[in-house]
Symmetry: C2
Subunit: 342 residues, 2 copies
């Protein structure tokens, strides 16, 4: 079982405090949807604990910032902003995918309805921009702040482009591995690359360091999403919070399926296409699809891809002068991403 | 018939060029949804003309900027950003209200589906932030740019809060005129106040001027929305692009209805409430509701409210030293808003 890297605990309190400061004094009941989604309150408004996510993106931002600049706190506004962009995308993603549950909790739309959940998601995205403005109070020069804003907004646009592609793939059977990679590069890798690049940008003028951390994050993001796809089919439902084979039932063109559609032959390929052409994928269809993927060893190949991108991420670290502490955490993060069970 | 103020033609070419620059070189097919919504292309991607909106918000921003600073062009990035925020809200509003048509054209979601239209709206909102960054290239000092960004983002949050309230009012019968005014202050007036304040902020250090133009815009925004509500019930369907009594059928708590619910007595009040409690408002219900509103002279009272806010807007102009040209355009704009037929 993969353990969380040390850094994942180190920054959590400060990230949480920064997020709460950004949302403080927002008293329209609308913001309760945001606080609910962030795991701070239940649907009745009572405080709850332990419902928050992993906060991997802001942690990566702070870890890289501490690595290049020593003190991580100056990057806290940007780390919080990135976490808010991530959560905006989750709220809208749940609406778009019709998902009623995330992390064993009802999704925002399943409680407040889709029209209000659309508002919650967009408000979260605007809060991210306001969170960024707090960088000015942490002594960031104006020119740096503008660069950081542009990085966040461009990354967010790429994320939305990826979401657009992901949805458009649902009605297509001709999605190839290359199309898939171009999609997850936008949907997932762009915000994770933004996180690591942001940490470097705010702490260093060195373009090479910025580039290396961007590429570390980008490859980590690709590994993260492909591992996510693996868990979406073969993960433990208790740990992932998703039913067995859920991505297949939802006709998601996730990596194992795209691989299966591209690399199976004749009967197996025809069977897989038939299943994905049906209106609904029933138990029989799910079972057949799992058999086909088993026969082409899709799970092993998928994990091989995960580890390939993890190794590309790790290779970037060779280009940077790192303290033992930083190296250990950056390596552990890559190992965690590639081996995580949830 | 109200004629458009002169200024409405004066800035259009530049606003359009600025918007097209912001969207240039975005080649994902996702952006075609944005270009379609902005009236530049049809759903197949062919260029079209004459499908654009009134662009009242960016025009107000530039008119105020020219008034306080002489050259309007430095405010173009902010004017474009405001228009993009407005259009983001329209795309999402059409999804939330289930509206298949706007300005006699199919809405984005009715062509591409709701999941993709959510992406289009949010992408439009992010493009607004990127549009703002172009202010730096127009010589805006960093401090000013930060203030302008904060103004836009806070106004956008208020707009979303207003949208949240508007939707929450649909299932309530106890909405009073004060609740209604608090809602449209956010949903509509906040972005129009942002437009006029933005023009002043970018061109002047004088807090009084900034405040007066903000209040001019805020009252204009209230007048605009109440006039919109009047047209949503009694407007000419050909000119508004909405069927007769459409806001009643959709159970919108628009001003005349809120007024009717609050100020009718006994039988009339009970009849109105019955109609709004029914699952669907049929022809008979619509006809009865129109009769009740007619009996309490709701249309005349609504127009009186429109003119009250128009006059409050005009009164703000007394506090500012204006050229005859500026005065004429600011007055004509207020008159247009209060008397417009579409």
């Amino acid at each position: 079982m993969m353990k969380l890297p040390l850094a994942f605990e180190r920054y959590r309190t400060d990230i949480d405090a920064e997020l709460r400061t950004v949302l403080a004094e927002r008293d329209s009941p609308m913001y309760d949807m945001l606080r609910y989604h962030l795991g701070w309150i239940d649907e009745k408004g009572n405080a709850v604990q332990g419902a928050a996510g992993k906060a991997m993106r802001p942690i990566l931002c702070l870890l890289v910032h501490e690595t290049v600049a020593g003190d991580y706190r100056k990057a806290l506004p940007a780390a919080a902003a990135i976490e808010l962009v991530h959560n905006f995308s989750l709220i809208h993603d749940d609406i778009q995918d019709d998902d009623r549950e995330r992390h064993h909790r009802p999704t925002v739309w399943s409680i407040w309805g889709k029209p209000q959940a659309i508002n919650a998601g967009t408000a979260m995205r605007v809060m991210a921009s306001l969170a960024m403005l707090r960088l000015a109070g942490h002594g960031a020069p104006a020119e740096k702040l503008l660069q950081a804003q542009r990085l966040l907004d461009e990354s967010c646009l790429r994320l939305i482009e990826g979401q657009y592609l992901d949805i458009s793939f649902e009605s297509r059977l001709d999605v190839r591995v290359d199309d898939y990679l171009a999609m997850i590069e936008r949907k997932t890798a762009s915000l994770i690359a933004c996180s690591t690049e942001m940490g470097a940008l705010l702490g260093s003028e060195d373009q090479k360091i910025r580039h290396a951390f961007r590429e570390y994050g980008r490859n980590l993001g690709l590994a993260f999403q492909i591992r996510d796809d693996l868990l979406g089919i073969w993960g433990d439902p208790v740990r992932t919070g998703k039913p067995v084979g859920s991505d297949i039932r939802r006709k998601k063109k996730s990596f194992p399926v795209v691989y299966g559609l591209e690399y199976t032959k004749r009967e197996a390929n025809a069977a897989l296409k038939d299943i994905y052409c049906a209106e609904v994928i029933d138990d029989q269809g799910l079972s057949t699809a799992l058999d086909v993927l088993h026969d082409v060893r899709a799970e092993a190949y998928t994990q091989q891809m995960v580890e390939q991108y993890r190794d590309l991420a790790l290779a970037q670290l060779a280009n940077i002068n790192l303290s033992p502490w930083s190296r250990q955490n950056l390596e552990e993060t890559a190992d965690f991403v590639a081996g995580r069970e949830y």
